[in-house]
Symmetry: C4
């Protein structure tokens, strides 16, 4: 009898994020799975993100009192139950009806922040209304229309967003070639993918019923009438993404935004120092989950250089590749204040909505606590570079 994950319906018994991913792959139609899971071009960076975590092993101490394990910390100045926030991901409604709201509720129930994407299905207002208990962060894509940009900032202020995260690595979209292969043209699924979608009734019921395909709620008011379907809107937005995004634009946003400001898209010390210069509060070390520049460094590899440059004076978060509690701990050990996870909670969302996403967070937390006990470091402050060792090379593959 071979090792086998259980049925993809039994997500409550999943023991790891990888198992949730396996289940989600079976639950979702291929085009949606590809959209969530895939990377750009040859997916070198996608896989390198994981390799970078495997490249570190632990150096445990024994015979330490670990009766009390505590993973509480502060993120961007406010308390969080874990050094973890939900990353902004677009079009969550394709995985589960009102997916943004489900994710936000899961985050709130577990005491961590949730980041709403510019290309979310729920608008800022809807989300804030539906989940008043959320600690709400907002991710901004900068379009070429300044009025739209400023209006989004105003709306974010109005609904009580405490942290603004400006994404800078998406001025042109990465070549997600496998994703493109699902479509005959940007708005039309190729036949085999349509058939495949039809064969996933559970997904269709959870995600599409009764309203059909969700729209990009957050942007609806800026879209021309004839481009309000999600497919059209995505193309429209991509077209209007400014390619003239520079540090001057960010400095201007800094002036207009009174809350915390994070720059998401930093992979080296030079850019981190620029972020500090324009007055940002922090940076997110990210390669967009391996979905933009293929060949970009793994985020865990880039982290130490950024921490060394600005770690004393700025909040440094790490994004991309988190699949285990030990990954969170490795980022913390190398100087991150915390991490963002995107796919991990999306897998849970696709399987069980709010409860599924919460299960994903619970797995990460349990794994982190287990690690802290076994490492002989029961608090996050004790987890630093001395706990790590370079894994022998052969062990990283």
């Amino acid at each position: 009898m071979k090792r086998r994950y259980s049925s993809h319906h039994a997500w409550r018994r999943a023991q790891s994020i990888d198992e949730l991913a396996w289940m989600a792959r079976r639950r979702l139609p291929a085009f949606a799975w590809e959209y969530v899971h895939g990377g750009s071009e040859d997916e070198i960076t996608l896989h390198d993100n994981r390799r970078a975590f495997a490249a570190w092993g632990w150096q445990p101490r024994t015979l330490v009192d670990v009766e009390q394990r505590d993973s509480r910390t502060r993120l961007l100045g406010a308390p969080a139950e874990l050094p973890l926030a939900i990353a902004p991901t677009g079009y969550n409604g394709m995985l589960w009806r009102d997916g943004d709201i489900a994710l936000a509720r899961a985050a709130a129930s577990r005491g961590i922040p949730f980041t709403l994407s510019t290309v979310s299905c729920a608008s800022l207002e809807t989300l804030a209304d539906a989940v008043p208990e959320a600690r709400l962060w907002f991710q901004l894509y900068v379009l070429d229309d300044e009025a739209v940009r400023n209006d989004m900032l105003e709306r974010a202020k109005r609904v009580g967003v405490d942290t603004l995260m400006v994404t800078t690595d998406t001025v042109v979209l990465g070549r997600r070639e496998w994703d493109s292969r699902s479509y005959l043209n940007p708005r039309r699924l190729a036949l085999p993918y349509l058939v495949d979608a039809a064969l996933h009734p559970q997904w269709a019921y959870r995600a599409l019923w009764p309203q059909g395909l969700p729209t990009l709620g957050n942007l609806m008011k800026y879209l021309p009438k004839e481009q309000q379907s999600a497919g059209s809107a995505a193309g429209y937005i991509n077209q209007r993404m400014t390619r003239r995004l520079t540090w001057e634009v960010l400095a201007d946003i800094r002036q207009r935004w009174p809350g915390k400001l994070l720059i998401k898209g930093i992979l080296n010390a030079e850019d981190a120092l620029e972020a500090k210069r324009i007055g940002a509060d922090g940076v997110v070390v990210t390669n967009h989950g391996g979905r933009q520049l293929d060949g970009a460094p793994a985020t865990l590899d880039a982290l130490p250089e950024v921490v060394d440059a600005v770690g004393e004076s700025m909040h440094v978060l790490l994004d991309s590749g988190i699949r285990r509690g030990s990954d969170i701990a490795k980022a913390v050990a190398l100087g991150a204040e915390g991490v963002l996870c995107g796919r991990a909670t999306l897998y849970g969302l696709a399987l069980g909505g709010e409860a599924g996403a919460a299960h994903a967070i619970d797995l990460l937390k349990e794994q982190l606590h287990n690690l802290m006990a076994q490492l002989g470091r029961p608090t996050l402050e004790q987890i630093d570079r001395t706990c790590l060792r370079r894994a022998p090379y052969a062990a990283t593959r």
Copy 2:
């Protein structure tokens, strides 16, 4: 005609421990195999234990008189036929009726020590009665009830245990996720595993007949009436394992225990020096067979640092990953006094009881003797670091 191991009934013709493992996998129901063979989380450390052995090659000398090969040595001050002892493993009765006794007899017949686990099926008293010829070591899990702990020490003294081995790396249980997947809850096998078990009548006959599932004999007297089944007992024990296990507790045990004392759970020089400070006689360099902290160093990688720190003044044993006679020799070359093997003899036990375990020991011995001849070093004293060379990296995978 492809290379193929023979039928899993012909274990007496098995040529290697890997072949025994292959056979045992077919003999055992999946849940039992998983329990014996698996590791924690992504099993990185489990595999790294083997990689670390592969990372060393030999540097033979030729034209040496090797008519007399001699693998006799002293372990913890007393003679042994091989630098090998049987590691403590829990619940051996699940593999073979009265498995502890069978293992102890195999060890005694081959002139090596046997270690009884705290969570054994046979109690200390039963074992000592049944195998008076055994050189008996006892492994202690420290529970939060001091009276229980002290009582176990008393019992061990009474039955003539010469060496006490205190395990320190299990204050919380490692996440053996694949093991958990066998169960709906800690006491109930999932249906496919039940069916699979029913399809292994040979195992059922050997392990379960006529008494049914064995109990944790060693702990029976401390268990509440309603928790004396093995499943319940395991949960109960895990819950009562103290998370406040510190060097002070070990110092206290040192005071109470007049015999040899080994600390099992050491992976670096700092902790080895602590062990020396509290007066332990030796340490076992172990990562619990890759079943506790995933990402912990391979034991062969950790060994030299421990030997350099305390090798002159303490007994240093290596545990985890022994599959060949050459593995024993590599540990000895790097300074270990000897090694423990857990799974290797369990595979033999599962196939042939005492005779099967003895066959596993015989294989290791034959391989060790063959190596000594080919290496041009017919005694163990001659096997030192000069016999080793780093394997070219590509050869370690």
Copy 3:
């Protein structure tokens, strides 16, 4: 639903050169595919060419204005839309009727040079007549008959070739053992390959109809009557290839050729300096696409040494292994003026003739432009060694 490339008829939707290759493999009979795709002996160098590209990752900068991306450059002193030229490949007519002409038209339509091979199907004169808009380069194999060699130079001058590329790494043919396995003898396909060819009617229609197997048009006038079939001609040419090809011969050619002169077959600084000494204008760093010396260095590995030696004073082009826009950029970052691509456009040619080859060029261009935007370097001048980082070793496999 597994990731799968679409039908091999839908080449216009191919997203990458690898996808085109997959499609071409299905379109072509096995012997033709092998001829185009294979390498020599164990194909170590063939694969190493790709590994060398994977060994470099990118170091992007963010928040740079990339509204204008520009990949225009100068090759051998004249403008080109991309730092790319079509490499000389023999017997293109086997893939598509009048394949040389189709390739030359595709190159001209995309603003890049096309190199005609000595062993082309179209003669220099036919090609120049059919594609007057082409920027025409000519590749010379040096035969042992000096009169033939000089006549070819005269003809090249006459039709307006601006650059002569002399191949120096083919004085004996590499052992393309898999290619040889297609044939019972140099002129006769083995039966399974004949049957396989018969099962590819689309190919037969595009390549063979109505004239049948093409001949080596360029050499026809030098061939004995009875050796004018392609099979005979290839054997004849191979036999007459001079093994006495030395720098003196090249110096003589330099005297006779008034245009630009490139030496194709350079893999180190010493030979590059020799090329400079005899007055060549440039060198092509190549290992003949892994088809000659198996074990020769990957071209991207050899490039920096050549650039350091002669990069200031000569044109340095890189050949072999280009499959992505980012590969072009890596060569440019390491100092190449541009690259040659052979197989990439041949895959397109085999699928769609001129349009297919043009699609291959378009893919490379799109990928290059996308990369420039994501890298924050919108012009080729900005792409230098500071944009690169060594990929962690594990990521190169």
Copy 4:
């Protein structure tokens, strides 16, 4: 259509030794294939021998006159057409009736030496009679009976052996576990292997008809009557192999043997210097084809150290792992006078007797000549360390 080797009957069209191996595997019964092809224990050294060749790439020069390629050299003071000799291998008659004679004739026809094994099927006298044109070397296993040893030396002198090769790495037999799995006991094939043998009539006809299993002709006169079958003899010999083989014994043999003396079994400088001290003429760097100590160094890795120690004053040959002409050249580049090949010619022998073995030699020669041309080094003297470069690590797997 996938790449596939052709039918295993068409060995005359085989393009490489690997292809011959593939064919031989199909021609031979499994037990015989295993005996020829397998290694000891986990076959780490077996594979490492090949990895070590892959670890070197070439550094070619271009535009060199290579009209004349010449691979002639001197081995142990006498001319040879190639830097290659046939290694001693036991029981060749199991592959082809009178296999020793066929190999010796192939070697003689190609101008290279042939080494007869102590455990050959043809006796020294038979071989010398049958192939008077052979340059005959003789390999000696030292048994514990001095009279036998001295008699073998006398016989070797009498038949005109010019070089004696004493094997020192086989005082105990390596654990060739897969080989052992073919047998129920040393003399009896397990049933599936018997059936498999019966299914290879072509082999049976070529090897067994009409005399049946061959005997160990060379040793027949020393064997007790009841142990003259090959199976019994092998066991008897293995038992009588002296484990007291020391440098003193070798010094004694040196005294008694007037011809050239090679010590086969050297893997480091210390032992090479001992060989020089006792007056040997040369050494063979070997690990017995990966069949003895598993974990021993690859021979190409061990070669430079031996060459540096005694290369000026002794003949140094390399054994184990030769599969291509380029492997021969790599050994020569690193200082070997020549190489031995065992399996390569055995594959040919198993397929076509003398003609098959000759085809294997021809392949190696053709590949070597092709390499010399492409490398721009048309003579062996020019092939030195400057022609080599370390292959990038990823390329060695």
